[in-house]
């Protein structure tokens, strides 16, 4: 479904954020990308939809090469890639409904979007999605009236209404409390299963990655240092990704959590 090969990104400062990353993500796989701050996780997913322009290498979505696309072809390709952001990135002064419908901007013309005249099928879908995440009653509230967890649910709806093939998820839980974090991760996981979505989820929290992903990729200084099953994250592996630390408690906690589920 999604194929990265030898993907490199060098910033103007001369530092390499990605030093040749190759990954192949099959359809329906939920992949967690872990690694310390500055490892290049955000850069990697932004190189996929080219919010950050990769320096070299290739990104293929369903065999379509994304790196060389013209700006209008890129916009068409972006419609098939939903993105969920760390600080929700909702347009704060617009309503929940407008925020969800903004996911359809790639499909409607300028004047329709200016006058908010979205096709009724889009509006039905927006209500259905809001209902699915339990926020239908909030449709007319302004985004800045919502709590963090609610905002992230709206962010999820905005990504899903695009009817994407791939979800790019950037630290979805970084600004949420532990309970809400779990709920959001579970929701993303369930929706991916329901819709057969492929997802790359950037996440700090090793423990959430182990709980909700089928595959974990560890990134360190712009290079892949681990790629495998969630339960392959031994203290050795974590030390390779993050550096020396006592990891036994983290791994223990993850195991306990699995027992509970």
């Amino acid at each position: 479904m999604l194929q990265l090969s030898e993907l490199k990104k060098r910033y103007d400062t001369g530092d390499y954020a990605l030093k040749g990353v190759s990954l192949e993500v099959p359809k329906g796989q939920v992949l967690a990308l872990i690694g310390p701050s500055g490892a290049g996780k955000s850069t990697l997913i932004r190189c996929v939809n080219r919010l950050v322009e990769p320096t070299s290498g290739s990104v293929k979505l369903k065999d379509m090469e994304l790196t060389g696309l013209s700006s209008s072809a890129l916009r068409r390709a972006r419609r098939k890639m939903g993105m969920i952001f760390q600080e929700y990135a909702l347009v704060e002064r617009l309503t929940v409904m407008e925020n969800v419908l903004s996911g359809r901007l790639g499909y409607v013309g300028f004047w329709r979007s200016y006058f908010r005249k979205f096709p009724s099928a889009d509006i039905q879908e927006a209500y259905r999605l809001l209902d699915r995440v339990g926020l239908k009653h909030m449709a007319d509230k302004r985004a800045d009236e919502l709590s963090g967890g609610q905002r992230q649910r709206v962010g999820i709806c905005r990504a899903l209404i695009q009817d994407p093939d791939v979800l790019l998820v950037d630290e979805p839980t970084a600004s949420l409390d532990p309970k809400t974090s779990r709920q959001i991760m579970r929701l993303i996981q369930e929706l991916c299963i329901e819709r057969g979505l492929t997802a790359i989820i950037n996440i700090h929290d090793v423990f959430l990655a182990q709980m909700f992903a089928q595959r974990v990729v560890g990134l360190e200084l712009g290079a892949v240092v681990y790629d495998g099953a969630p339960d392959g994250l031994t203290p050795d592996v974590l030390t390779r990704i993050y550096g020396e630390e006592d990891w036994s408690a983290t791994i223990k906690a993850a195991e306990d959590e699995e027992d509970e589920l």
Partner: protein
Amino acid sequence: MPTNQTSGGEIWKQRTDKEQWIRWFFWLISLSVIAYAWQMISEKTIWFFVTDAPNQAADIAARMVPPKWSYIDQLWKPVWDTINIATLGTLIAMVIAGPVAFAAARNTTPNIVVRTAALFIIVSSRSVNSLIWALILVFILGPGVLAGTIAIGLRSVGFCAKLIYESIEEIDHTQVEAIEATGANGAQKMIFGILPQVLPTIAGVAIYRWDINIRESTILGLVGAGGIGLQLNGSLNTLAWTQVSMILLVILVTVFISEWVSAKVRGAII
């Protein structure tokens, strides 16, 4: 550096000795300049007029009361003109300032040439006082309300565009990025990602400028550009002091009402 080791321990001062001397030196120069200027002014002053000033002021004040209340009948029309000059002028200014602001903001400008042109418009509009704009426009368009309206408009473009473009530069970029990620085009990014973030500023600036323009347009009549200033000028020239006080009173009330309106509207927006 300001920390010195002595036998008695470390001594810390805010500045080094050198910095301290430089500061004293600048204080000395500044005070000398002020003293010199003071002396110049007092030499050139005709002290007879100064000592006489309180008498003159009292005299004029006495002639101003009571205001000529009946004169209000002739003031309704000029006041209405004044308000229209301010309102239409602000409207013109906002229509021009919007595009100029987007052209001037670093994050929305198409290129450096356009940005430079936009900044030039802003600076030139701000550097000319509205009275001078009015003076020039009265020459071009002839005296009247139109000259005043355009003068107010041209004067306000720079002010409005500057405040709006600064607010555009301060928007939260991730909201725009999120809209971009959905496959939206440039124009859609503008209306969904940027405009909602700057709309409160745009509205606030328009109201604020309208408030300023009410005050500015009261004096445009002095150069023949319409509004209540025309009556003020006429009354001053004919030494009709009771009319002058009446006009000042009307201006005061108008400004007071405009302040009140703009405070109310601003409260409603935010």
